[in-house]
């Protein structure tokens, strides 16, 4: 199967860089899968699970905030927070949900409120999906 270059970067370091066959990315407006030869594409991320298919068994990584860019050189995911699923502490998500709830109560106008509640829903879905 054709491979392409995939890079996963967090503000603190370059987490993954290598050839992969497929990556499923949780986009703001829905998940999308990237294969070799994907058209140039930029999407923001929602908190969710990113799946990397390479030579080994698929790797599951929780990402939060940031964006994905598919360019001529492959896929680059810039995420604010990156944690492999098996290293994730349940507290982290709980804390994030708590923050989102606070944002929702603090939201000044309707637009901010919409955004905050959307964030909260996304985090809840993530929490359920991981079964914490």
């Amino acid at each position: 199967m054709a491979t392409f270059h995939f890079e996963l970067v967090s503000p603190e370091k370059l987490i993954f860089s290598g050839e992969v066959t497929q990556v499923d990315v949780p986009g703001e407006e829905g998940d999308f899968g990237v294969l070799a030869g994907h058209a140039p594409f930029v999407a923001t991320l929602r908190p969710g699970v990113l799946t990397v298919y390479g030579e080994q068994s698929p790797k599951l990584i929780v990402v939060r905030g940031g964006f994905a860019e598919v360019g001529p050189n492959g896929l680059t995911v810039l995420a604010q927070e990156v944690v492999p699923v098996d290293e994730l502490q349940p507290d982290v998500i709980r804390q994030a949900i708590q923050d989102a709830e606070e944002d929702l109560t603090d939201a000044a106008d309707d637009r901010a409120k919409d955004r905050a509640s959307e964030r909260l829903a996304q985090l809840q879905t993530l929490k359920d999906a991981l079964g914490h």
């Binding site: 503000p11 370091k13 407006e29």
Partner: protein
Amino acid sequence: MPSLKDLRNRIASTKATQKITKAMQMVAASKLRRAQAAAEAARPYSERMQRTLGSIAASVQNNPEAPRLLAGTGRDQVHLLVVCTGERGLCGPFNSAIVRLAREHANRLLAEGKQIKILCVGRKGFDQLKRTFEDEIIDVIDLRAVRQIRFDTAQEIGRRITALYDQGAFDVCTLFYSRFRSVIAQIPTAQQLIPAVFEGAPADGPTPVYEYEPDEEQILAELLPLNISVQILKALLENAASFYGAQMTAMDNATRNAGEMIKKQTLKYNRTRQAMITKELIEIISGAEAL
């Protein structure tokens, strides 16, 4: 003329100072390694961020509804200078070099009749700037309690800046920090944060046509504030590495100077000792002759 005991004490105190500077140099060297790794690890993120934002920004360049963080307020009157320095001294010209660059920038703006506001990140910069720009400094962010610079640290500062911008407190924001090139070379740098500038963005070859999801404006609205935090994080990490680099060099020099001083003082001590012995001998001999 100082007595032998005075000279001995002086040598001992110089030796103690040398031990301290030597220890500081070694501590700086070991911290430098970690800070340098952190600064280098953070580079890919900020570079890619700039590149991607640059290509998105180019596509909305002429759109009148482009986000204000990108297009600016349309004015150029009030400037915010964010001056990132270290929290500690004993690091050679590290802090003063950043402050000097910021001060030159501020004076130039003032000469042009612009208004300036200064946000100090790090206590040392504040100490040096408060003499000349006390009224212009709006706040000091103290990072002494922060042991390891993480994204949250930068995000907090970034949020403050964007909040100020949304209130209309300034039109242009410039970030001052020291870029880490090597242990002996740290380059004080000024980087414009708002309105965002993207260097070396799309120029070479045909840029591919990107599809956006959600649309460009929404992506920009989300990413521009994030980019500010990322640039601040980069600045703080580069600063930390530069700081330890500068401190290491400064302490290396101090150790060497102390060594030289000890050599000179020991020479003086030995000469004085010999002179005293000679004097005592003369006294004894002439006393014996007189009998």
